[in-house]
């Protein structure tokens, strides 16, 4: 009963669920990137579909609202020819007394093959993976402050398209690391893929205790933190943070940690700027930078579809980069 194994992998180390980057071997991450590369052309075809998941049913199970992530998951599933069911289960539905487990049992009755889950509680995707029937794969589309692994992988994909190798790169993640599941997953992905250095930049109120144990360097001064980096990842700042005594005001945050072209000059001239979206212009990033030549923010969105197609097809066991099913 106390026996533990990696929930995410099958006995022969293939992806079964995709819950977090933590604990996944480098080979699996590379396989996701390579597979995504083969899918990236599908969007440019006249018929934007491949028949890999034909006859499969994928349920988008969103306990927390999200337009962008849900849409890209839906698009990815449809391009793989799967049937997609979108369920937006507002917080009120579960607070009516139906437990998460009850909801799951109802969904099992619908005979689906995969759950794509977003939930406000850290560990919710793990909980669902543990309790779902054996044949169902679970993809984490964001759980609380814990993980958002597909976002991290699409960022890795975008980085790899701009730089041939991960090894020499210095990457800075800027902003509200404390509340960010994206930041946690990116840190795990970057360290697993072996970049030269990962930095996090932000005020102490937004940098969680013990983050250095994940193998990152902490900076509270943005100019120092951006010095000579190759990749700048700006995190979205939630408006609620102004009320919890984390920050005094948006203006002051922008002054210290908003990415402007002046601050970007501290990074390498070849540096790229990323943001998981949606952007708060004038809060965490200046419009001139967000729309500037170094910004790859729109590429990230496009890449999100190919990466999610890769993860879905791998978790369903229908595709390996070596085998080729397209």
């Amino acid at each position: 009963m106390s026996y533990r194994h990696n929930l995410q992998l099958t006995a022969d180390k293939k992806l079964r669920h995709f819950l977090t980057i933590q604990g996944l071997p480098r080979a699996v991450l590379c396989e996701i990137l390579d597979t995504a590369e083969t899918f990236s052309h599908v969007g440019q075809q006249a018929v934007k579909k491949v028949p890999i998941l034909r006859g499969k049913t994928i349920v988008n199970l969103f306990f927390e609202t999200s337009t962008r992530t849900r849409t890209t998951f839906e698009l990815a599933a449809k391009r793989l020819s799967a049937d997609v069911l979108n369920l937006n289960i507002a917080a009120s539905a579960t607070s009516k007394g139906e437990s998460l487990l009850d909801t799951l049992r109802n969904l099992e009755a619908m005979q689906s093959d995969m759950f794509v889950v977003r939930h406000a509680q850290s560990g919710a995707a793990h909980f669902i993976a543990k309790h779902a029937p054996k044949h169902i794969s679970v993809i984490n589309a964001g759980d609380g402050q814990h993980a958002h692994p597909t976002q991290a992988m699409l960022d890795m994909f975008t980085i790899r398209r701009h730089f041939s190798d991960f090894y020499p790169l210095k990457v800075a993640i800027v902003g509200d690391v404390l509340h960010s599941r994206v930041a946690r997953s990116e840190i795990h992905a970057l360290t697993t893929l072996g970049v030269n250095e990962v930095r996090v930049i932000g005020p102490k109120t937004l940098i969680p205790t013990g983050i250095d144990s994940l193998g990152v360097h902490v900076f509270h001064n943005m100019e120092e933190g951006l010095q000579d980096v190759d990749v700048v990842i700006i995190l979205r700042l939630q408006k609620e943070r102004m009320t919890g005594a984390f920050l005094p005001s948006e203006q002051e945050y922008f002054h210290s940690y908003g990415l402007t072209s002046e601050k970007l000059n501290y990074a390498k001239p070849t540096a790229i700027v990323m943001h998981p979206g949606p952007i708060n212009r004038g809060v965490e990033i200046d419009s001139s930078v967000a729309d500037g030549s170094q910004s790859v923010i729109l590429e990230q969105v496009t890449n999100g579809i190919a990466v999610r197609m890769a993860v879905m097809s791998m978790a369903m066991g229908q595709y390996t980069a070596a085998g080729g099913a397209v």
């Binding site: 106390s2 560990g123 402050q145 814990h146 993980a147 205790t209 013990g210 994940l214």
Partner: protein, 425 residues
């Protein structure tokens, strides 16, 4: 009923006694340790050869879930489980529903405990009305009804002025105050120890300073009011150090720690396993080791179960929305004995922390095997191998992170006031 327990290894920490001897019981009292008085004719003789005989365990914190939460457990189920685990006295915190802030609730619990008759239940009354922290409770009436002390359960009296007055008032009535130290603002909605693990898992953290600051405030108030106070379920090295300093300066405060804090750390949470969700949270290895050291140094006098049985639904969900707590009545003695097997404590130290030391805190004349003492006695086989499973747990709550653990000793018989309340067979 006259009983002779013969040839057992009698271990009595209060008198540092450890010898093969007979224990002779009549009318609920121990009348001799060694040979029986002339003319003594036992109604029953129990052969304890190869077994330990020690005082019944006194558990300073066990939630029996009645009244109010009898879908989780009942006084009948939990006193029976206690008897099977060698626990003869259970101390019940005030956070039942209704709250134990009136003599009527005290009487109700006493009545249910008497009906069961498997273990002695003693009660900690509420320190504030409804545990709401705004008005002090009717402590004089509670004392007259028989409470052994007062406390505010897991809820904090946030207002320092109310806290000061509550302690002053408790002191006026010579009541011991049982404190659970946790700053509510710093705890927030935290569910795991704030540190590398909570950061990695994206769980809101409960920082160690939440306990340190609450302990510092309460120590100052204890010193000022002169109340007799006890800190429940301490979890951090820094708070322990603060209390140890106050003790060395002469302040009369005592401390208990739950058995699980002496074994588990935040690293055990794994894949968000809700069985490890407990309050205060499982801390770091450094904290665990400091608490173990505290038992040896006697700054932490007592090991308790912090028993919190739950129904299955309470633990069904993502980690931080599940109810905190471990069902631990079955594991208090086994986990303490494991500290002996691991070389952390001597057998005398381990049993002292479960018997006469908690008795002293409660002001009860229990926890010792001497002529004239109440015959609460455990017969324990140190070589009975078993595994904790939902079936071997006797509590109604099966929420334990220790399921699957193997233990090498088992309670064979339990006597409460000379009466056999448990026999393994």
């Amino acid at each position: 009923m006259k009983t002779r327990i013969k040839n057992g290894r009698v271990i009595n920490p209060k008198t540092s006694f450890d010898e093969i001897a007979d224990v002779v019981i009549a009318e609920g009292k121990i009348i001799a340790v060694g040979s029986a008085p002339d003319g003594f004719n036992a109604d029953q003789t129990i052969d304890a050869s190869g077994q330990y005989v020690f005082p019944g365990i006194i558990d300073l914190s066990a939630r029996l879930r009645e009244p109010g939460f009898d879908y989780k457990a009942t006084i009948a189920s939990e006193t029976q489980a206690a008897a099977s685990a060698g626990i003869t006295t259970l101390c019940c915190p005030p956070d039942t529903a209704p709250v134990i802030d009136s003599p009527a609730v005290v009487e109700m619990i006493n009545h249910l405990a008497e009906q069961s008759g498997k273990a002695r239940v003693v009660i900690i009354g509420a320190l504030s009305k409804q545990l709401e922290g705004s008005q002090i409770s009717e402590m004089s009436a509670l004392k007259a009804a028989g409470v052994v002390g007062v406390g505010n359960g897991l809820r904090q009296i946030k207002n320092t002025l109310v806290m000061r007055r509550a302690l002053e008032y408790a002191s006026s009535h010579n009541l011991t105050v049982f404190l659970f130290a946790e700053d509510p603002w710093l705890r927030g909605n935290g569910s795991a120890h704030e540190g590398a693990i909570s950061t990695r898992m994206g769980l809101e953290g409960v920082p160690e300073i939440a306990e340190v600051i609450a302990v510092a405030r309460d120590l100052a108030l204890i010193e000022q009011t002169g109340v007799r106070a006890h800190f429940c379920q301490l979890s951090t090295a820094k708070a322990k150090a603060k209390i140890a300093r106050a003790q060395s300066e002469g302040l009369s405060v005592t401390v208990d720690v739950s058995a699980h804090q002496l074994h588990l750390t935040d690293m055990d949470i794994g894949d968000f396993d809700p069985m490890y969700h407990v309050r205060p949270p499982l801390r770091s290895i450094r904290d665990r080791d400091a608490l173990r050291q505290g038992i040896k140094e006697n700054s932490v006098g007592v090991i308790c179960s912090d028993h919190q049985p739950h129904d299955e639904d309470a633990k069904d969900g993502p980690f931080s929305v599940t109810e905190p707590g471990i069902s631990s009545i079955d594991t208090l003695l086994p986990l303490t004995m494991r500290l002996v097997a691991d070389g952390v404590l001597t057998l005398q130290e381990a049993l002292a922390s479960l018997t006469y030391k908690p008795a002293e805190i409660l002001g009860l004349d229990l926890g010792t095997i001497e002529p004239g003492a109440t015959a609460d006695i455990v017969v324990y086989d140190p070589n009975a191998f078993w595994t904790l499973t939902p079936e071997t747990m006797n509590s109604a709550g099966k929420n334990s992170p220790f399921l699957g653990w193997e233990f090498d000793g088992k309670v064979m018989k339990t006597f409460l006031e000379g009466r056999l309340v448990y026999s393994r067979d």
